[in-house]
Symmetry: C2
Subunit: 486 residues, 2 copies
């Protein structure tokens, strides 16, 4: 495995680079089942670390986890008019079970609003039962024709939050709260800073009143929609008779939200930080933060391995995730190569010579444009500084990703040809005015394959508010961001 040829460089073919990297760093593998992938331990552990962090944030904002059925009667999905239009073409349908044809075929959940609202209608009677704040970790299936590991697969893993509230205002606040939870997670844990904002009507979730999203910029300057939060209004509660008695004794329909992120985030991590050598993982999410490679020369490996164990124990006691790679059939060089490809933030080499001098060799995973960072460090210093080094590494990744996003954002663009040229040459985020006319979205999509990513939240808006719609004929009523997207 160590002797494989180099990855296709990103500059040559970003898409091939991505596919090769996912396979060779053992994040995932293709499966014999069309459109499905296998998530291998290295990729799954990253997902577990993401889950743990997100789950803590969900619980800190008052949510509990629950589990709803995989199989949903198709009649449920058909109840909400826009919802069924959005999802019916992608359904996988069970027609046979237990050796018999089913009278009512069942769909594998593409998302669970319908079955969850049916249960909420049973559980919620009074304003005292509100808000109801639940989350589910699960798999969903949306039949896709063109699939790519993590980014678009027929089956994927995700979490879906579903809440019910007594007022429209509270539900909309909650929608924004969860958008902000996602943004915080992406910045603080993934070092992948998104632009957040409202979706246009043509891009919103099928069945939502308003959808908000996190749009992260990948290294090829495309946008990855990496988390969405939806204000559903009463669209579902009316179809599922989800009513409650108000404090005043009236009967009203509840107000709902739903929000989700998926294993797509792992793909986002790859395309945000990876380089031509392989993955680069933010320390907070890396399955291994420090890999120790003992240099095993001569006959007696005992002392070096004991030293490696002692260092591992000392770092583990600080809450650092450490692995010792003591495989005796592989050269140190091939190990370095493998862990670099897997994106581990720090490597520590310990050999008999280093032991004699009380030193270790510390190598930081190279970041964009850096030279190799291999230094001799006294062992005590390496132990004392490792937490700081990891924090710094995490901060550097975020800083670099923010800078890249800003370097590739274009503001003050008022002309359709100018927009098209940017999209065609460098790509990136193009901020323009918009009248709200969906016809402009159609024109731009046809001309450039770019779509309206979002109406950005205030802090992302340009200092100078655009006055003309990019479509040319009307005044602008809002600023929007255009980009090609995954």
């Amino acid at each position: 495995m160590a002797k494989e040829k180099n990855l296709t460089p990103r500059s040559e073919d970003f898409s091939s680079w991505y596919n090769e990297l996912v396979l060779r760093s053992e994040l995932a593998d293709y499966s014999p089942v069309r459109g499905s992938m296998v998530i291998r331990p290295w990729g799954y552990t990253i997902w577990e670390n993401m889950q743990r962090a997100l789950d803590d944030m969900f619980k800190a904002t008052g949510h509990e986890n629950a589990y709803f059925p995989l199989l949903i009667p198709i009649s449920f999905i058909e109840k909400e008019k826009e919802h069924v239009e959005g999802f019916k073409p992608e359904l996988a349908i069970v027609t046979n079970a237990g050796g018999k044809e089913l009278e009512d075929p069942l769909a594998i959940r593409p998302t669970s609003e319908t079955i969850i609202m049916a249960m909420y209608a049973k559980w919620i009677q009074s304003y005292r039962d509100l808000p109801l704040l639940l989350n589910q970790w699960s798999n969903v299936v949306r039949w896709e024709l063109r699939t790519r590991p993590f980014l678009r697969t027929s089956e994927f893993l995700w979490q879906e939050g579903h809440t019910a509230h007594a007022s429209s205002g509270e539900a909309e606040e909650h929608t924004k709260l969860m958008l902000n939870v996602y943004r915080t997670f992406m910045e603080d844990w993934m070092a992948m800073p998104p632009v957040t904002g409202l979706k246009s009507d043509s891009e919103k979730f099928a069945g939502a009143v308003r959808s908000y999203s996190c749009e992260a910029m990948m290294q090829d300057n495309r946008a990855l929609q990496s988390g969405t939060s939806h204000f559903l209004g009463q669209n579902f509660s009316k179809q599922f008779q989800l009513t409650f008695q108000t404090e005043k004794g009236n009967e009203e329909y509840a107000w709902n939200t739903s929000w989700g992120v998926s294993t797509r985030l792992v793909g986002g991590l790859v395309m945000t930080h990876g380089d031509d050598q392989g993955l680069v993982l933010p320390p907070k999410l890396s399955p291994v933060q420090v890999v120790i490679v003992p240099i095993l020369k001569g006959e007696d490996h005992g002392p070096v391995l004991e030293k490696a164990d002692a260092i591992k124990d000392a770092l583990t006691a600080k809450g650092i995730r450490v692995k010792i790679d003591a495989r005796d059939f592989m050269s140190p060089g091939n190990k370095y190569y493998e862990w670099e490809r897997k994106g581990v933030p720090f490597r520590m080499e310990i050999g008999p010579k280093d032991m004699a001098t009380g030193q270790v060799v510390l190598a930081k995973r190279m970041l964009f444009g850096e030279d190799s960072r291999k230094e001799f460090v006294p062992e005590t210093e390496a132990l004392a500084t490792m937490e700081n080094r990891l924090d710094e590494f995490q901060a550097q990744l975020l800083e670099a990703a923010k800078r890249r996003r800003e370097d590739n954002s274009y503001r003050g663009i008022e002309n359709l040809d100018e927009l098209a040229e940017i999209i065609d040459t460098s790509g990136g985020y193009v901020f323009t005015g918009w009248s709200g006319d969906p016809a402009v979205e159609d024109i731009i999509k046809e001309k450039t394959k770019a779509t309206l990513r979002c109406i950005p939240e205030e802090e992302f808006q340009s200092e100078k508010t655009p006055t003309r719609c990019i479509g040319g004929e009307k005044d602008s009523t809002m600023e929007v961001v255009w980009a090609r997207a995954y």
Copy 2:
């Protein structure tokens, strides 16, 4: 909700008691989808706590997690002759997806040996790639005609471990290691001590060479098979061409194991510890270990709520899971009733009077046959002793369950009529000799509905080894355990 009638007593109708308890303690609810249930937050949090403990044990024994596809080509399942016979009648089959009929229908996984072995064949080349020790947390579907929440549902959540080894001996050792992990988990965390042992050929997993199981005794003296570990030999590796190069350079088929526990364990917890008042939860798994009920009298609730917060913080700092129930629309009595039904180990009441005397009221969830245990305790003592009290409670539950299991085990039974009478009257575990003849299993099943639960491991065997087969005509070659089972 608080005004519901009492549960049907266990002595009157154990099955109704179970169903009512599951619903009213809000562990789960029936769903509109036939054979599926909804796991509500109280039940799901218990499952999360189980997952966390088991996952730590799996990782401590060298396993990593991964994720394999939900949908499996039916041709895969058909490859292993016994496997397909066992599972085909229970398959749910997707025939349509993305608006088209599938050329090759896909089964929703009933278990994942086949798809995982297909991937292992791709990943494993050499003895250096072995052992491969993976686990998956997932949902599976087995179409069932008669379903009961947690115990038997068409969809359930579980973990399935799948390993590949270079030798038969190592694989069989691993099978037993994981059986022992399950047993340790059931004893130390669930306080549900199983009898462990080998399955007879007629009861083993479809496709296994040998199956081992944990058989826990419920309060109605039936057995619940609550965890299984299978030695698969080379049955699957031969069908999926899972070969490896040995150290000597030969090509050999790998040796496999698989093992699993499911949300069925939550049902086992209910039937092991619950009483006519509701659930009783072992502290290690209870979502809430101490519930604080502030007694809110008069106008100013501030001081009492502040005291409750301070006590919560002090207990939380000790790693204890605490909830304050400050609902202002419910009487303390109704709260006591609800938390008792939900099985919380300790309740603490704090009112203005208690604050004045520096006391709290501490009420332990009643155990079998105990009187109410409500005591006035100085606040400082309550804080200082809570960890011990929880440990004691956990130990008491295990002790009671062990005693119950032994009290309802019958040894030295040599006569079929005697066995039948025990099964018909009290139920329980009947230990007898057996010749190994499956005809005896058929006779006993027909006569008593009892089945051969396992050939118990040495420590569970009777002091006096039986000499006659319970079938009557042959000599005994091994001791076995009979019981009616879920």
